[in-house]
Symmetry: C2
């Protein structure tokens, strides 16, 4: 953040000179701002700053999901310093940091945690990342069905002293550990102290399964306006919950990924910000897909090669190649964007493919016809103004462009709308079918359509 | 949603036949699911369903921000039925619905509300949509600085009986209405009943201004992990607050908009889902930008026309035009996606343009050089295998492709990275600089670069 530039410089100076005063420099900053500032520093500088902050403050910074390179920073720290920091994190953030560590550091650090924290961390690490279990926290308030509201409030006060947030209290079956109901703090405050909790709790609350994808969790919390959603194991045991602010982090992360994928850039969990990514890593992330697209696009040269003779006889045909193929690419990108988004927000499913296809065939014909007409009129106008522009057979050239545009736009629209559904069907992320991919797919076909139409329309005249 | 298809059909039948039993059909559905179901119906059907539900349930459905066409549905209803529904909504949703009504319906409905609700609604309508004031609710718990925790809890209980959620209590200066501090329900539960609220409250809470853009509000709530953020007027008076679940709705809305803009589709507030948009409206949304792109892309024909003689003399040149220009478009789309996202999440500002430019010049040279090398090797390999493929001067053709790719990719990268910053500078949404736009911009220049390089390299041989 440009806002922090002065402070970043001052901290760099401190680190070079005397190592003192950093705590005072940043004493006023809330942890989220401090995390943002640390994101601007190199890895070594970040570790030095965390080592020099008072432990509670260092832990509060490390607890921020917006802090980048958390694993790498912890690896830089002396284990004697990093173990107590990990101990002080919230359970979900601790699991996230541990997951980012290399095996050696993780195996060295885990035994340094208290047995209770270690068991909890190891339990959370067993869930795959990017699932409900992988992002949940386990620090919920457990209530027994025989409690009264008074006991519940006492329990909440006991737990809240240690923990930052108390979003939800859950009433568990003492035998099976199954979820009987959920009680919000609001419900507790509103109820009479002598009411049994079973009378106040909401039965059948909305839940998620531990192995549900994090996007499913986000969608459910958003749809039902929840502050937290309980996470159940396959056998119905309550194992944790995911809060609304975890979900916001998930949405930002997934938003970034989708945005990058749509630009044909490799994206994954824990992506670094543009400015903090080292130059060569940025190149690697971009070169891979760029090369794949380039090599696929080489087929256009092969396709054009097949029509070399036609081009030699009627050079005028070559002039419209970029216009024709880009129209296919653009209409394909539009269709892909619409369908990717509709799939992402759950408006469409794989089973709707035929409904989409019917619609897009019509849309492709209408849009292609419109562009074709504009193209036809443009060639006509030019030819009437300067008769040499496209030669004596310009009406046939104009007709070729008209018919080709209908075909190419129709094909682009179909490819753009069906590709995301197809990708989803085979278990891939539809967002991969980005504008560049659709365009590349459509370019080769567009060339073939165009020259085949030309061969048919212009046979005996230009060709 | 495909899940509801059977239920939708059943409801359609009920509407045709007897108008009874709808309440029972959907009695089990929570309001968010019911809203989703209503989204599948026509406007008339939706209004009929709302009219037939028990009033409290109809209001709960109308209160869902995920319900589409809320204004239009209310316009369909009889005012005698819609006024009590509006009355029962939460303040922020009521303002949102009123904003969507046509002037006549709004002017007819407002006087039918109770004076208190009407005053509040009119106050909220004064704020522009998509600002903090435009999405806030005014139903916060007001505390006086002379209160004790016991009084505060009493106040909360009194208010919570009427209202769905009590996210935040605010201590106000009785004279100025200025915000002295914020107290969460957790703070109140943890404190002693006899403590003064001024001792428990958080001083200097994070706030937003009423005219801040809703994206600013979302960013702040996300960054500081807040459940709610208080909204201040320019003079410091507290006028309302925005909750975390409003923010999730904002993020979904803005996510949809950005996704559509990146595909060059017109997007705006209240966009309809793909399946619910009437065919011709969908065409209009797509045809506009498609035509703009098409007309701009016509310049490629003009550019190619300038080099018609060169193509006639060396048809082989035409074969590589799609490959060259698409490489510029793809590298430009990558750069644009990276920069648009970095601008959106606040990692980059307008002032960073020079830093970005330096980086992208280097990136463009490296990526262009890589693609160029692959292109060079491909032409070499083909020519060694079948010497006729690109004629006797194939080394010069390969050199032309190599140099052009460096130039075109460099230009694409620069255009793609600078365009979003430029758009932001002039107050437009950077997301408009989508892949199709960048590609169109780069295509014409790419053609010129390619043929100029060819003219230079091939002079005296092919040309």
């Amino acid at each position: 953040m440009t806002l922090h530039t002065d402070l970043v410089e001052r901290i760099r100076l401190r680190l070079e000179e005397s190592f003192v005063g950093i705590g005072a420099d940043v004493a006023e900053l809330p942890p989220p701002d401090l995390a943002e500032l640390v994101n601007e520093l190199t890895l070594q500088e970040s570790a030095s700053v965390l080592a020099m902050l008072p432990p509670a403050r260092a832990a509060a910074v490390l607890d921020q999901p917006t802090l980048r390179r958390r694993g790498a920073i912890v690896e830089e720290l002396d284990p004697g310093r990093s173990a107590p920091l990990l101990e002080a994190l919230s359970a979900d953030q601790r699991a996230d940091v541990l997951r980012q560590l290399d095996d050696i550091t993780r195996r060295r650090l885990l035994p340094m945690l208290t047995p209770e924290v270690r068991t909890e961390a190891e339990a959370l690490l067993r869930y795959p990342p990017r699932t409900a279990g992988g992002i949940m926290t386990t620090e919920f308030v457990r209530l027994r069905p025989d409690m009264m509201v008074r006991d519940a409030l006492k329990q909440v006060r006991a737990v809240a002293r240690e923990r930052e947030s108390i979003y939800a209290c859950y009433v568990l079956d003492p035998g099976s550990g199954g979820l009987l109901g959920a009680i919000s703090l609001r419900d507790l405050v509103m109820a009479e102290l002598t009411q049994p909790v079973t009378e106040v709790m909401r039965k059948k609350p909305v839940t998620v399964n531990a192995l549900d994808d994090q996007e499913v969790v986000a969608a459910r919390i958003a749809k039902y306006n929840l502050l937290a959603v309980p996470v159940l194991e396959a056998d119905g045991r309550l194992v944790g919950f995911v809060t609304v602010d975890d979900v916001i982090d998930v949405m930002i992360e997934e938003g970034t990924e989708d945005a990058l994928k749509m630009g044909a850039i490799e994206a994954g969990a824990g992506d670094e910000p543009y400015t903090a990514t080292p130059f060569w890593r940025l190149i690697r992330k971009r070169a891979g897909w760029l090369l794949v697209l380039f090599v696929s696009e080489m087929l256009t040269a092969t396709a054009m090669g097949r029509f070399e003779e036609e081009i030699a006889r009627a050079v005028v045909l070559a002039l419209f190649v970029p216009l024709i193929i880009s129209s296919g690419g653009n209409s394909g990108s539009q269709a892909a964007s619409l369908i990717i988004r509709a799939l992402a927000v759950g408006e469409l499913g794989i089973r709707d493919w035929w409904r989409v296809m019917r619609r897009e065939i019509l849309a492709g014909l209408v849009l292609g016809g419109t562009l074709g007409l504009v193209g036809f009129l443009r060639i006509t106008a030019w030819s009437l103004v300067s008769p040499d522009a496209y030669g004596p057979h310009w009406p046939l050239v104009a007709l070729t462009v008209f018919v080709s545009l209908i075909g190419v736009v129709l094909w682009g629209t179909l490819a753009g709308s069906m590709l995301p559904i197809l990708l989803k069907r085979v278990g891939m992320d539809p967002a991969v079918s980005s504008a560049p991919f659709v365009a590349t797919l459509v370019d080769v076909t567009g060339i073939v359509i165009y020259f085949e139409v030309a061969a048919f329309v212009l046979r005996g005249t230009l060709l």
